[in-house]
């Protein structure tokens, strides 16, 4: 039996007994086994660290949460070993279409994979619980990662050398001392609350109904979005295909509604029939109403306590930037914390997680807020502007790019990262420092797969010697072209696949300097100034 009632269960796991003694310690503790906590545990676990995960629930929940996982997330999941399971199960899509009114022809359409010949598509749709399950499969292969199911953090006492947690498990309390604490405990984060930390931003009033239904239906695997459709006049709607013949229908409901009443089948089903036809045969999977917020913590790093995922930032679902943003967090943090834990980098390196994850969160919040302003205009004038765009878009190509039904998640760049070595030469295109490597075919595989999860020097016909211990990958053809690497050039890539530096004429010394900078060598002085 699930330890918390009222939440649908995808998979029972069962409570982990409390430790035998009432005080316990662990070098790294992750609070929360949602997708972000699990991915974090997997990243650190694969790097050989002992990781303890505490999760309040003793089961995997079956809710209507994330379904759209971005290419960047798939690249991260590939690195963590879960990419194939997710992609094989998921519904692959690249094209989004936006309709207006009753017209069958879209007013706008976009392609989430503008550069072809990459391993992964722009997006896959898959229920969040499958992603959690596949991450769990990988985590369970690691003897050094322990998940404690049904263990809830009740209080947090930070200290200079770590954090002390008060935990309850099956009615029994114990104290756990953590060297480092990563709070992946979601939007209502206990860790954030107990530390008295802020969470600032906007809360939106609009309500959206999600009807996840099962039916057999033919439609291309695309994201379809409507403004003012006949089946939800004056409002918006969204339709996504998920695996197992499950469909997500999302209807904007407006303000001041009775949320309890809104999810009753007799109130939901008329929406479904109006959209798909009176005769449509379907079964209810799960009905829910959500509102949303765009907000984040002022800082994500507080000494030995680090926030990642929804505990640190929240966005509207329309850009699919929530979980995808959370995966970007752990991707950024994993290798940095690894170096610090191994004593190979100063703790100041963690401060760059604060900078880069906040840059990502800000871009996600900005895009998400802008989409919201287009979806639900807040004044007569902004509604007039929105409708003007839609009317013009039907007739003229120029107006179509203004149509904003959600700008979907793509990788965020850090152009001013302190870890990057700025270009010293003039480059025509390619991937600049602070941006993720663009995938390309490589012999019988893919460039991103060949990068692994350590620093790599990608070279194109360079015959120099790389600094000792640095992995080296020789490329040509499309891979070199996409990096704009001339014959004899090289690109230094971070463990999270972001470019740290690039050269048309590399030298061993320049590479070594860029490598130590990317590992935070220049940061120590700065950290003392705080």
């Amino acid at each position: 039996m699930a330890n918390v009632a009222g939440i649908p269960v995808y998979k029972e796991i069962g409570a982990t007994p409390a430790p035998a003694t009432d005080t316990d310690s662990a070098p790294v503790v992750i609070v929360g086994a949602g997708p972000v906590g699990l991915a974090m545990a997997l990243d650190l676990g694969r790097r050989g660290h002992a990781v303890t995960v505490l999760n309040r629930l003793d089961f995997v929940a079956h809710c209507s949460k994330a379904i759209c996982f971005s290419k960047r997330s798939l690249d991260i999941l590939d690195r963590l070993g879960a990419g194939d399971a997710v992609t094989d199960k998921g519904v692959v899509w690249n094209i989004g279409k936006v309709f207006w009114g009753g017209d069958d022809a879209p007013v706008y359409q976009f392609d989430m994979l503008p550069v072809k010949d990459q391993k992964r598509p722009g997006f896959v749709n898959i229920q969040q619980y499958y992603v959690e399950d596949y991450l769990l499969d990988e985590v369970s292969k690691l003897p050094n990662v322990e998940i404690r199911w049904g263990h809830a953090v009740e209080d947090v006492t930070p200290g200079p050398e770590g954090v002390t947690l008060d935990v309850t498990a099956g009615g029994q309390g114990y104290r756990l001392h953590a060297g480092w604490l990563i709070a992946c405990d979601g939007s209502r984060s206990t860790v954030r609350e107990k530390m008295g930390l802020d969470f600032e931003g906007r809360v939106f009033e609009d309500n959206f109904l999600i009807a996840d239904i099962r039916m057999t239906h033919e439609m291309p695997p695309e994201r379809w979005f409507w403004f003012d459709p006949p089946f939800n006049p004056g409002r918006s709607a969204l339709m996504h295909r998920q695996p197992d013949d499950v469909w997500r229908l999302d209807f904007q409901l407006g303000w001041n509604i009775d949320r309890e009443a809104a999810i009753r089948p007799e109130n939901v089903e008329p929406f479904v029939r109006a959209m798909l036809g009176e005769g449509v045969a379907f079964e209810r999977e799960w009905y829910s109403v959500y509102t949303f917020q765009c907000r984040r913590m002022a800082r994500f790093v507080h000494g030995r306590v680090i926030f990642a995922g929804d505990s640190a930032h929240l966005v509207s679902p329309f850009g699919a930037r929530g979980c995808n943003g959370g995966f970007a967090d752990i991707d950024n943090l994993g290798w940095k914390l690894d170096l610090v834990l191994r004593g190979a980098a100063d703790a100041a390196l963690i401060e760059t997680y604060n900078d880069e994850a906040i840059a990502t969160a800000d871009e996600n919040i900005l895009n998400s807020t802008r989409s919201t302003d287009f979806l639900t205009p807040k004044s007569t004038a902004s509604r007039a502007l929105r409708d003007a765009v839609l009317e013009l878009a039907g007739e003229h190509a120029f107006a179509r790019p203004f149509v904003n039904s959600g700008r979907l998640s793509t990788a965020v760049s850090y152009p001013t990262s302190l870890l990057s070595t700025p270009d010293a030469e003039t480059w025509a295109g390619g991937v600049p420092p602070g941006s993720p490597v663009l995938d390309a075919p490589l012999e019988d595989g893919w460039l991103l797969d060949a990068l692994g999860d350590d620093f790599v020097l990608i070279s194109h016909g360079w015959d120099g010697t790389a600094p000792e211990g640095l992995m080296r990958l020789e490329v040509s053809g499309l891979a070199a072209e996409r990096l704009a690497l001339p014959e004899g050039g090289a690109t230094l890539v971070r463990p999270d696949q972001y470019v740290a530096a690039r050269w048309q004429h590399p030298t061993t010394e320049a590479i070594a300097a860029a490598l130590s900078r990317a590992r935070g060598a220049l940061l120590k002085g700065d950290a003392c100034l705080h």
Partner: protein, 64 residues
Amino acid sequence: MSALTLTPNLSGHDDLYQSLVALHEGLSEEDSLKVWAKLALLLANHIGDRRVIEAAIAAARPAA
């Protein structure tokens, strides 16, 4: 400093003024707002220079 032209740059001002008034004839206030928005979008795209457009937005904004 901005590249926005703020000196007279066309002829037939009265004709243009009349066209703009006529554009709104018979429209509700809501529809008028939409027509203004369309016009702004059409012109902005034609100008095609974000700096000029931002300068025009700044020049149009009521003084605080």
